[in-house]
Symmetry: C2
Subunit: 414 residues, 2 copies
């Protein structure tokens, strides 16, 4: 067989099969309880409603939903999205021109990479940050600048310090700052309102675009919702990405990019046209009808009730089973799907992974979410997919693995 | 509003709203007969079958089709695609590893661009060639090398001559050669078997990848099917793109990349993961079931019968109404959706467009399909979408516009 590898682009050469995918293969053994996925629970899927909607739609707008559609997205779906956004962002004036329907948020990330990144351009992300975003941007060969997080989200003071430092040293400042303000993947924490405002101020001061990726915002189990960064953006520095993957179902692969600044949306639309012409009109019609019938609101209510008990159970069993170790801690997310566990400094979650799998429990190694290769003593734990019984048994196993390996000096732990 | 344009990538800056899209807006007037689209006729869409399949699938595999799926594609769909490919390519040994499901062919083109093209790399395309492919590749900032076509497809002798010339002059040779061998968009012509074999030989001699884009192969109304380039590829130089858009329906946005050479498919899968994680499992499940029940074959039979009469009618009325002018000619495609009309050398189809729209008939200007800006005296005419009555009336109008403007010297025609 011809070996084409030397003819690949620099971009393709730099893209490797993700470590996570390889590790996840290990978790496909019988009896393993996995906290590694990021999947919504199938029990939440509104199968009956989708079935009924699809049947009636094929009768009423069959030929429209089966034909090619506009790159911008189905106008009916965009209309529904506008209504939906209105509730959370009552003061933001938006029209169809402010929205581009995408093949879920991941496509939004890809076309945003294409919109901004020349090879070598810097962009800023959280430490840690969503792996899929790192992969999407990496394909355009950017330089990542990491900014640390605390319990109130990404450290905006730190961001400004880094930017000032780079300006002083005549280094390029980031083309955009990528944040997941609500129940961050992987850390599960929310950006405070003050930080969101500070981020907007940085955007305005330094002419930087903010990418707000917010797939989990509606999955809040406690506390009060915080205004979206979109709603704080007066001068058009923000592109926000939303998705139905966690509120309705992931299998339709539907999301949207929205900005007060239509010039972003226009250019993203031109880019999307070359990428896939349009997102399936078939799935868009289903989602539009789902919203039109008011099903999304009740669906979100159900999902919140369903996941809330899992989040509660997860936090309870962590308290119950985890050993008392100096430095061992985890976040207490008020929503979303993940929490973030930090091991004592001397421990290594990458190395612990194989031992955990031997004990039939799995997580995602935290270092995968660090653009700078750090985070070896961290892990992401998902609570949306496992059952309550699995949550208890799995955390018991994980606590046991951590305890057994806590005392071993690093040299011997491999 | 913040003006972000100076921060856009070179790629984004080079992408403009397509001229065609702007021209097509002119055609949205009442009473216009448009031969400009490339749409399948909605009468062919198997609405009832899709409705029934979707209902029964949601009952039997609801949670699977509503969940995230593998980037590679739904294994059930890939199984069906393998069976389907077998018929046309009985001697090609393929497994699931040879196939990647894509959001129709357009996504295949995008990720192939990402796989191969560094800014400035050259790639080879037909003169003319599919506009969507030119746009997809252009986003990666390639240099286009055009090779002319005749009635037997792209001129392989010419391709080899260009490659030799470039080697002699120490210029890079193309990373890949992009062809649409069956009922080419826009020209409607087929590559002969000899040319296909010659292309494979060029690929092997010069270590070049061939991209075979074949959305229309099954829509043959006359003559004998010609073996796919995929089937002639012994050493893994070919990536072929197929789609259900023209045989089943476009609204599901489903296609696939296939190659004997799994190293292409592996890398394209990694690229696709960063681009959109996966194509909707929901639509993939529907397509898989459609194939499993044997509906695609009968659907293709229906489509062929339906389009054949349109193709026949189009050729008849062209003969009947077109003026006898030196140099005025059109292709006689044996399948597909388009034919290609060449005006006398001194005429300009770009300029004629506005006059045609005034006379309530529209086409696509041929120059849009030329990577080198030529082809001003050509146009693409679609016959799959208009009704038989529209075909007759529209061609009458078009013939009239051509005749009225044929005598005008070029200087005065603007």
């Amino acid at each position: 067989m011809f070996n084409p590898e030397i003819f690949y682009s620099e971009s393709a050469k730099s893209m490797k099969a993700s470590v996570i995918r390889e590790l996840l293969k290990l978790t496909r053994k019988p009896g393993i309880i996995s906290f590694a996925g990021g999947l919504p629970a199938p029990e939440t899927f509104p199968a009956e409603k989708i079935k009924e909607i699809t049947s009636s739609l094929i009768e009423t707008k069959g030929s429209l939903m089966m034909q090619y559609g506009p790159t911008e997205g189905d106008p009916d779906l965009k209309e529904q999205i506008l209504d939906y956004l209105k509730e959370d962002n009552p003061d933001v004036e938006l029209t169809q021109d402010n929205i581009l329907v995408t093949t879920a948020s991941q496509q939004g990330l890809d076309i945003i990479g294409k919109l901004f990144i020349n090879p070598g351009d810097s962009i800023m992300v959280g430490l840690p940050s969503y792996l899929g975003a790192l992969q999407a941007f990496n394909a355009y060969r950017c330089e990542f600048i990491g900014a640390p997080l605390d319990d109130n989200g990404i450290l905006t003071d730190e961001i400004e310090k880094i930017i000032k430092e780079r300006k002083k040293n005549n280094l390029s400042i980031p083309k955009f700052i990528y944040v997941i303000p609500d129940f961050q993947n992987p850390a599960g924490i929310c950006m405070s309102l003050e930080r969101r405002k500070a981020l907007i101020k940085i955007a305005e001061t330094y002419n930087i675009t903010i990418i707000e990726d917010s797939p989990y915002k509606e999955l809040r189990y406690e506390g009060k919702s915080i205004p979206s960064i979109l709603s704080l953006d007066k001068n058009g520095h923000v592109i926000s990405l939303f998705t139905f993957s966690k509120t309705m179902l992931p299998g339709l692969r539907l999301g949207w990019a929205v900005s007060r600044n239509t010039s972003y949306i226009q250019k993203l639309t031109i880019i999307k046209q070359a990428v896939d012409l349009c997102t399936p009109p078939f799935t868009q019609a289903i989602a539009a009808e789902f919203l039109k019938r008011g099903f999304l609101k009740s669906q979100i209510k159900n999902n919140v009730a369903f996941y809330k008990q899992k989040q509660k159970a997860m936090l309870e069993v962590l308290d119950k089973y985890m050993p008392k170790l100096e430095g061992l801690k985890w976040t207490k997310p008020e929503g979303g799907m993940f929490l973030w566990l930090t091991l004592p400094e001397h421990m290594n979650a990458d190395e612990l992974f194989v031992k955990a799998v031997d004990e039939k429990v799995a997580y995602v190694i935290g270092s995968a979410f660090y653009c700078n290769g750090k985070g070896q003593n961290t892990m992401r734990i998902n609570f949306s997919y496992p059952t309550l019984a699995e949550i208890e048994e799995g955390i018991k196993r994980l606590a046991n693995v951590i305890e057994k390996n806590a005392g071993q000096p690093k040299e011997r732990s491999k």
